[in-house]
């Protein structure tokens, strides 16, 4: 099953933060590692899609005053999720091997 770049990022962040990955920590982790700032709305849309496909499991955490009394929702990756992420990363690596860097600058001939 195919997953997009955002889903890939979210799954990797959840694996890195295991078992404490929730919306804000996932957003901060992706920002720190990639420089991309996704909104909470898009992260939850991706989390919803991944959970519906069975790639993630969630458990309710604590509510704090800073969150207006709302409980956190912690996410963990499932075995099918890990398998899909592996396949997706393998496909990305396979595509990377065929790249000819410098073509945009007319360097491919000089290099080749």
């Amino acid at each position: 099953m195919n997953i997009g770049a955002l889903e890939q990022h979210v799954l990797m962040a959840i694996m890195a933060l295991h078992p404490n990955g929730y919306g804000v920590s996932i957003q901060e982790h992706i920002l720190r590692r990639t420089g991309q700032e996704y909104s909470i709305g898009s992260i939850y849309a991706a989390l919803g899609r991944l959970e519906d496909k069975g790639f993630l499991e969630s458990r309710q955490g604590e509510a704090t005053p800073q969150r207006g009394g709302r409980a956190k929702l912690y996410f963990t990756i499932t075995a099918p999720g890990e398998k899909t992420l592996q396949a997706s990363l393998k496909a990305t690596r396979s595509l990377q091997r065929g790249l000819r860097w410098g073509t945009a600058f007319g360097l491919s001939e000089a290099v080749g």
Binding site: G23, V24, I40, Q66, G68, R70
Partner: protein, 148 residues
């Protein structure tokens, strides 16, 4: 409101959805308000197995810092708080507001809260709009079929 006094300092309320909101010394649950006087912070899990079953307790310190986000976007979010994911997302937006307020000040935190709220609502509004269009097309087709 169904409220149980645990001790002179603690007020414990059973709730079935977790859809509650804390605002300073008062608590609002499903549109009803009640004052919490001199309550201490108690974890929801503390009572879940001993006093109530399921998602249960709303307790908050009168002195603890509630985020107090801008009311208009906050009220816009509330009708969409249906699933546990939506509730958690709203909690995350509140947490971001609290963090941004400490980092950038209140004015910028309010702008960022508005931005996060609109980004959260946009796909939901888009889905609602497409549902309306779909039903309008179906009803129109039925009308044409039955009348024409």
């Amino acid at each position: 409101m169904n409220e149980k006094k645990k001790s002179p300092a603690h007020y414990v309320m059973p709730c079935d959805t977790g859809a509650y909101m804390l605002n300073g010394g008062s608590v609002t649950f499903n549109g009803q308000s009640a004052m919490i006087a001199n309550a201490s912070v108690i974890k929801a899990e503390t009572f879940s197995s001993t006093v109530f079953f399921g998602p249960t307790v709303v307790v908050h310190s009168k002195d603890a810092q509630a985020p107090n986000p801008p009311p208009i976007p906050h009220d816009l979010l509330r009708p969409f708080a249906r699933s546990k994911r939506d509730l958690a997302a709203i909690g995350d937006i509140n947490e971001l507001y609290d963090r941004d307020r400490a980092r950038f000040g209140r004015a910028r935190a309010r702008r960022l809260y508005w931005a996060e709220t609109l980004k959260f609502l946009w796909p939901l509004l888009g889905r609602a709009f497409s549902r309306v269009i779909k039903w309008a097309v179906i009803i129109d087709a039925l009308k044409r079929h039955l009348l024409g």
